[in-house]
Structure formats: structure tokens, C-alpha cells
């Protein structure tokens, strides 16, 4: 199954690499959120007297600037939107008949599902990394703590990758289940915004009403966001921060395991003969 999964994944990635323009919409979203949203909605400017740097730091979990806080959230947002709309390629594969060609080949249906998951994950993690770089280079952007190293970077992107993997399972199974792009877009629009707004991607959940806080606390986006943000803001973690980080990662691993199983069975059903 691995050889067939890789063959299908490489096919999708070759197409993606040969069409650099496909990366641009995702890239623009990153730039707009960080440079425009991050600057224009900077909470430090919301009241006439302004917040002191201490107040900003307290409000945003120790982040020295709002964009430092926002970066992890924007990357989560990029993951959600691009995973969701990445399924369009799979719907097109069905509509153009390519999927039927694959279905008449003697390969496990799981190879189609896992190649969908893998190709989306690679594409979106690349965008996530570009977003991180953009946050670093824009004026008044991401400020990394002293001593932020490779291990921290691995921890940050490991958290994002776990979230991405879970999301990719859900949206790949969804894309394989629908028959038209319209249906996919309708469902995706219904799912993505609540997922983002019911997390602390854009604002700390401490300011949310209790009911929303409860939902945000179990939202995997909040967990990935929190884990990545802990490292982005603090670099080396204290033992209590490390414990929070470890809990978030374990939670994400559990979510990924559940979503992989659900996605796998949903895709198997969607790909079975009708």
C-alpha cells in the first residue's frame, strides 16, 4: 500500500510544484492577516491611553507584541482554510474521471485516502512555514525569545503538523464523500469559521464568555495554538509550561488517532462501489 500511496502523493505534489501560483492565495491570506489584521486590530491601540507593554504581555500570554501572539493563530487559520479547500483537487479528480481510473486499479482504497491526507499535509505545512517567515520579516512582527532554537522550531511545527494531520483526515474524507465542489465549499464554509472563532487563534479565550470558553478549551485548534505559542513566546519552557505543552500534544495525538480512524472509514465508504 505504501508504494501506491506514494505514487498518488507524488503525482499531486508534482502538479502543485509545477503550478507555483497555487501557493499564492494561501500566502496572501497569511500576509493580510499578519500585516493588515495584526496591525489594524492591534489591541494595544484600542484605548486612547494605550496598553503598557506589561499589560500586553499579561493579556497575550507573555507575548511582547500582538503579532507575536497572533502568528500561531494565523498559522492555525492557514492550516484550517487550506486543508479545507485543498479537498477541491480530490473532488476534481472524481469529476474528471481520474478517481475512477484509480478505483479500477488493484490498490487498497486506504492508499487513496492516505495519499489525500499526505499531499494536503505537505502543501499546507509548507504554507505554514512561509507564514512563520513572513511574520518574522514584517515590521513590528514576530519577536522570538532569546535562545529560541531548532528544537523549539521542531516543537512549534510538530504541534501544527499534528493539527494539520487531524484536519487533513477530516477534510480528505469529506472531499472524497461529496460529488461537487459546490457541496464541498458549502460544508467547508459552515465548518471553518466556527472552528477558528471558537478557539484562541485570534484572541485569548480568557476573554470569552464561559460557554465559548468551554468549547474553545476542547477545540484542537486551541491546543495546537497553545502548544506552539508557548514555545514561540517563551522559548525554553518552565516545568509547568512543559507540562501544559505535553498535555496539549498528547491531546492532539488522541484527536489525530480518532480523526484518522473516522476519516479512514468514511473514505472507505465513500470509495466503495455504488
Amino acid at each position: 500500500m505504501i508504494a501506491e500511496t506514494m505514487a498518488l502523493t507524488f503525482r499531486a505534489l508534482k502538479k502543485w510544484i509545477r503550478n507555483p501560483a497555487a501557493v499564492l492565495p494561501g500566502l496572501f491570506t497569511s500576509i493580510f492577516y499578519l500585516a493588515l489584521f495584526g496591525s489594524s486590530f492591534n489591541p494595544a491601540n484600542l484605548i486612547p491611553s494605550g496598553f503598557s507593554s506589561t499589560q500586553i504581555s499579561q493579556t497575550f500570554g507573555g507575548a511582547p507584541t500582538y503579532i507575536t501572539y497572533l502568528t500561531a493563530g494565523v498559522i492555525c487559520l492557514i492550516l484550517v482554510f487550506n486543508m479545507a479547500f485543498g479537498g477541491i483537487d480530490l473532488v476534481l479528480d472524481r469529476q474528471l474521471g481520474f478517481l475512477n481510473t484509480v478505483l479500477t486499479a488493484p490498490i487498497p482504497r486506504a492508499a487513496i485516502f492516505f495519499s489525500g491526507v499526505a499531499q494536503n499535509l505537505v502543501k499546507v505545512m509548507f504554507l505554514a512555514f512561509l507564514t512563520f517567515l513572513i511574520a518574522l520579516v514584517i515590521p513590528n512582527g514576530l519577536v522570538l525569545p532569546a535562545g529560541f532554537g531548532v528544537l523549539n522550531l521542531i516543537g512549534v511545527f510538530g504541534s501544527f503538523a499534528l493539527l494539520g494531520l487531524g484536519l487533513s483526515c477530516v477534510f480528505t474524507a469529506l472531499a472524497l464523500s461529496v460529488r461537487s465542489i459546490d457541496s464541498l465549499v458549502a460544508i467547508v464554509n459552515f465548518l471553518t469559521l466556527p472552528l477558528i472563532f471558537m478557539s484562541d487563534a485570534l484572541f485569548p479565550s480568557s476573554s470569552f464568555p464561559d460557554w465559548l470558553k468551554t468549547i474553545a478549551n476542547v477545540n484542537p485548534i486551541t491546543k495546537a495554538d497553545e502548544a506552539a505559542r508557548l514555545l514561540i513566546v517563551n522559548g525554553n519552557l518552565t516545568s509547568s509550561q512543559l507540562s501544559t505543552f505535553a498535555n496539549d500534544v498528547l491531546y492532539l495525538v488522541g484527536v489525530v488517532a480518532i480523526l484518522t480512524i473516522i476519516g479512514y472509514f468514511a473514505a472507505e465508504k465513500a470509495l466503495s462501489a455504488q
Binding site: 501506491e4 505514487a7 503525482r11 508534482k14 503550478n19 481510473t101 486499479a105 488493484p106
Partner: protein
């Protein structure tokens, strides 16, 4: 002769409502080219989809290369190549990359995949275009590439669903040549649907005509034409209130008469005897003959006889559909 495809009382009902295929049975011998003809919506593609495991069978049984389609779909997929009517080769990949991908999906990997791909690209005269992206290919090149993609794992049975749809006559004939050669040189069994009757006539060892999900007639092209019962005289008369159907039927050696307006189609088992009597009879009745034509039986006439529609009408109606336009657009780009 070994039966390589066997369909036994196959029925397909979609969503519990639409009966696309209704209790059909047939068998295809190993090494034969079997043609499936029928109007749009007759059940041709649904039959292929059941045989190539894409669609479930509502009732009945089917065996391909000795494997039960329902119980051993994996073994069936191992034994078959499928060339769909849609142009499914990936536009952004080269011809070689597409065919290597098809090989990889059939457990042919590495240098063996590349070797077979190169050999097949040569067979379909695409070796010079192997490195070009498929989006630069003409419709005919795409069809040839798809044919090669369906063969890269050396299947026992090749399913071709409208393999020459949207191609000009020259390219179509080239495709027939490839299919014929594959059948003769490699002993490949081919199960094909087509809209082009001359294609079925020249390529197929046997043909089945399906209409409204039911096989109406099957046999070799020669047998089918023989079943028409003779030559056909088409007689167009000037406007007259007189119906000559019974008059024609009363003439010895006239086996059947159908009338559409002032046009009579008269079936003649022995033309040389009946023709003078018919013409003389019409002249005596002082009715002007506007046009008279005489044809040997063709598959188009067999088709018309069985389905009540000419294949040309089918072509015209199909070209109106959005899907068909889409296929044509890709095929001719």
C-alpha cells in the same frame, strides 16, 4: 474456447428506482473483441462499471478472468485494464509520467515501469511526445496515451468505453489499428462500447445490441446483418392520401414494410424479383416516385431495426449534452 467474461442475469438498479441494466446474460471468449452497442442510457457504461468493479451488482453474477466480480474485486482489477470515455490522463504530467503512474498503481515499479511505459508509448506512436505535458496533446494523442495506460500492466481483458469518442475519422482509424493489432499480436480480449457502427463492424468479432437495459440481439456483425432479412429499398413518394403499405406487403418476396410519412422502407430477401413489381405497381397507381434508394444491410440498419433509432440520431442528441461537449472540448483541444 475459454470464456473470459461471463455475465449471468445481471441487473443494476440505481437507488432502488432506476433500472439501468435488466437481467442481461452474455459471454465473451478469450482473445475476442466484443462490441456493446446501444443508444444513450441503454446501459452500456453501467455494464462496464459492474464488470470493472466500479458499480455493485444488484442481482445476478459476473465473472471476469475466472474471478467473481462481487467476491474477488481485487483479483478482477489485477486482470483488467480500463480505458474510460473521459480523458483522465493528468494534464500537468508528461505522457511518460502518466503512464508510469498507471504502472505504479498496478504494482509495476521502478525501471520495469519505465521500460514498459517506453515500449507502449512507442506502440501508440507517442515516443516523441513522452516528455511533453499532456495539456499540449491533441485529443487523439490523449486517447492513444489512455490506451497505453490501460495496457501497462499487461491485462487479460481490456475494457474500452467509447475509445474514439470525439476523434476525427483519421485518428479513429489509427485507434482501430492499435486495438486490432493488440488483439491479434497479444491475444488481448477487448470489451468495447462504441457509437461508431463502422468501428464495431470492422473491429468486433461479436456484437451485442443493448436498449433500455436489455440485450436485444447478439452475434457476429455478419450474423446480425443477415437477421435483417435482406436488402432494404427506401422509396419516397410524392404527397398522396393513399397508404401503400398493404399493397407492398402483398407482393411476393417482400418480407416487411414500414412507413414514415411518404417514405417506405421495404425489406426484400430477393431484390431482383420484387423490385420491378414494386416500381411498376407504384407507376400504375399514378403516384410519382420522388426518390428511390437501395442498400445492402448495415449495422446502422440493424441498430435502427432493434432500437427504433438511427445511430446518427443518437450522435446528434448526445452532442447536445453538456457532458459530451465537455468531453469533445478536451478531446479536440
Amino acid at each position: 474456447m475459454t470464456k473470459i467474461i461471463e455475465a449471468d442475469h445481471l441487473t443494476k438498479i440505481y437507488k432502488g428506482k432506476v433500472k439501468a441494466v435488466d437481467d442481461i446474460s452474455f459471454a465473451v471468449d478469450e482473445g475476442e473483441i466484443f462490441g456493446f452497442l446501444g443508444p444513450n442510457g441503454a446501459g452500456k457504461t453501467t455494464t462496464i462499471k459492474m464488470l470493472d468493479t466500479l458499480a455493485t451488482i444488484t442481482s445476478g453474477k459476473a465473472f471476469v478472468a475466472g474471478h467473481d466480480v462481487h467476491r474477488e474485486p481485487g483479483a478482477v482489477r489485477d486482470s483488467i485494464g480500463v480505458v474510460p470515455q473521459e480523458l483522465t490522463a493528468d494534464d500537468e504530467l508528461s505522457g511518460m509520467e502518466n503512464i508510469v503512474l498507471a504502472a505504479n498503481l498496478h504494482h509495476v515499479q521502478g525501471s520495469e515501469a519505465r521500460r514498459r511505459s517506453a515500449e507502449l508509448l512507442k506502440l501508440v506512436d507517442l515516443e516523441d511526445a513522452a516528455g511533453r505535458k499532456v495539456r499540449t496533446f491533441s485529443g487523439g494523442m490523449r486517447r492513444r496515451l489512455q490506451l497505453a495506460m490501460g495496457l501497462v500492466h499487461m491485462p487479460k481483458v481490456l475494457f474500452l468505453d467509447e475509445p474514439t469518442l470525439g476523434l476525427d475519422i483519421q485518428t479513429r482509424k489509427k485507434m482501430w489499428d492499435y486495438i486490432g493489432r493488440l488483439n491479434k499480436e497479444r491475444g488481448l480480449t477487448v470489451f468495447m462500447t462504441t457509437h461508431y457502427l463502422e468501428e464495431a463492424d470492422s473491429l468486433c468479432n461479436r456484437i451485442a445490441i443493448i436498449d433500455k437495459g436489455v440485450i436485444k440481439l447478439s452475434g457476429s456483425p455478419a450474423e446480425l446483418k443477415q437477421k435483417l432479412g435482406g436488402d432494404i429499398l427506401t422509396l419516397e413518394l410524392a404527397e398522396t392520401p393513399v397508404d401503400l403499405t398493404e399493397f407492398f406487403k402483398g407482393i411476393p418476396d417482400v418480407s416487411d414494410v414500414t412507413r414514415t410519412g411518404q417514405v417506405y422502407r421495404i425489406k426484400l430477401p430477393r431484390t431482383e424479383k420484387a423490385l420491378p413489381i414494386i416500381v411498376e405497381g407504384v407507376v400504375r397507381k399514378n403516384i410519382e416516385i420522388k426518390e428511390i434508394s437501395f442498400t445492402k444491410p448495415t449495422l446502422d440498419q440493424v441498430f435502427l431495426e432493434i432500437t427504433g433509432k438511427s445511430m446518427r440520431d443518437e450522435d446528434a442528441s448526445e452532442s447536445d449534452s453538456v457532458f459530451q461537449n465537455f468531453i469533445m472540448e478536451r478531446a479536440t483541444s
